[in-house]
Amino acid sequence: MIAPRTLFAKLWEAHVVTSAGDKDLLWVDRHFVHEGSHHAFARLADRGLPVAEPGLTFGVADHYVPTRHRERPIADPDIARMVRTLEENAATHGFSLFGLHDPRQGIVHVAGPEAGLTLPGCLVVCGDSHTSTHGAFGALGFGIGATEVAHVLATQTVWQKRPKAMRLTIDGALAPGVGAKDMALAWIAKLGADGARGHAVEYAGSAVRGLSMAGRMTLCNLSIEGGARMGLVAPDATTFDWLAGRASAPQGADWDAAMESWAGLASDEGAAFDREVTLDAAEIAPVVTWGTSPEDAAPITATVPDPAKEADPARAEKIRAALDYMGLVPGRPLEGTPVDRIFIGSCTNARLEDLRAAAAVLEGHRARVPGTVSPGSSAVKRQAEEEGLDAIFRAAGLDWVESGCSMCVGMNGDHVAPGERCASTTNRNFRGRQGPGARTHLMSPVMAAAAAVTGTLTDARPFLKARAA
């Protein structure tokens, strides 16, 4: 009898080419590169090596691309050079490119799955930590550094130490207005920003099963913010229905063969995990962050933590420093904190479902603060415009711009000004992440939309109730 195995073990073992010491050499099924991968291509050029598998290599322009005035040449010479270098590398090495003006362009973790490139059972890597997103399909997805990107380009393999397996089970029903973003921030607040370090996290339980693919991608995307090497959701009918017919997904007889190979991609009954954590979905409220790490998260109904009440001096010091940077007063309610702007975008929360949810809150309202909405991909942008969502955002006074990493990482010049407070659907509230001195509060799309309407951190639930009534 074969011992029961976790989904993670099945996926990992299927990709092992060989092993040495505590590392396995893994075959890579999908390698996404972006314009920030220039260091890796330079290494490849130094050695005069070709790309081993151009058919499994996909370029996407996202990290640095402008989100405004794409009809004009790129103004910043460094950015123009990087985008051009990616185009040249795609042409030289013969891999497909979702370039700046391609209809498939978008943030790599939105555009890749959307094209049907991310499939159950695949191993997906990219020089970006949010590659964990792709685990939503029952794939192994993890971020790598530039040296590893060069290695994958040259060999289509990557050396990795096998992470431990952790299962995070979230059972029960989510309350209205609570979603995948809240689930993710809730577990990260509980376990810490390095709580799942060295682990592959399989998300399980009825609340996870009930999530759409967009929600599962949000949940897996944020795995890295809890320190996990990757996140996983076992594929099911939701996954297969979402994938069927996508441009690069298998078609016809190939689809049937693929479906056959995907059967059994689940943890076996009785499979042993190195660690088990459970959460009750019913206890999760809309979450906002108050500090400078994603672990600094609390329900919107909570108050700003007080370092004076903290027993551990190191922890108290960290809270004090975070509140000083964030300009928050201990003990005050989080709700009602004035914000200067909002941002709806990023690989975490800018899929069509996210934009629909935000638009539902904003419809008929005027935003009290400026804000930007950057769709997760150019396809999401087109679909949103077909549905008239752009009109709702514009009518509210928000900027409707092109797709890219934009204000999540601030590489393209989309910044939050020093000292400004931003309600953001992104993934990192690190110091300076959205620009030097920027104060970021992470939250879901409905919460960012509610913050736009009131100009403060706001519980979105009453807005949703009003809509439902």
Partner: protein
Amino acid sequence: MRGWTRHDGLAVALPVEGIDTDQLIPARFMSRPRAAGYGAYLLHDMRRDGEGRPDPEFPLERPEAAGASILVARRNFGGGSSREAAVYALIDAGFRAVVAPSFGDIFAGNAVNNGLLPAQVSAEDAERLLAALAAGPLEAEVDIDAGAVTLGGLSCAFALSEAQREKLANGWDDIDVTRRHEEAIAAHRATLAAARPWLWPRAARDQGAR
């Protein structure tokens, strides 16, 4: 990359928890070519005040920290973004080792790939080292074979896998190592291509939108 097993240098304390890679090098500097050096961008914003002036009280700005090559910090060093530029900034600023109770997984991998030692010590030892360095930087010794960092009369063990130790000691580039496994890779590919040819998306499919 040259290998190394022993390093003597100046150790400096940065008693901060959760120094993410966005702190180590803010994103706006990463579009620049490496050739010019990334050392000047290390902790660029953290070491400056609100007006962008260097903060003379910041541990790395103090004159006695000049030339430091060993950094001691608190938990979860190098979490967040996979940017290898965070390691380049440390290396180009002269650092050979970072000592902390825990590291971001991707950062630790990137570090070893560039000859920077991520020396994982216990939380208690990290606090002892930080206390010893509280008055200012001290000469220290890092020994990869012995797995220990020594300074101010303290000797603290750090964890390192055999693979990490070998790579740091030999300065190996993985591409050379992996090429020795060419046959195994080719065999894996052939098996996969026969069993699951659909894993290679047809270029034609790539062209059309859904």
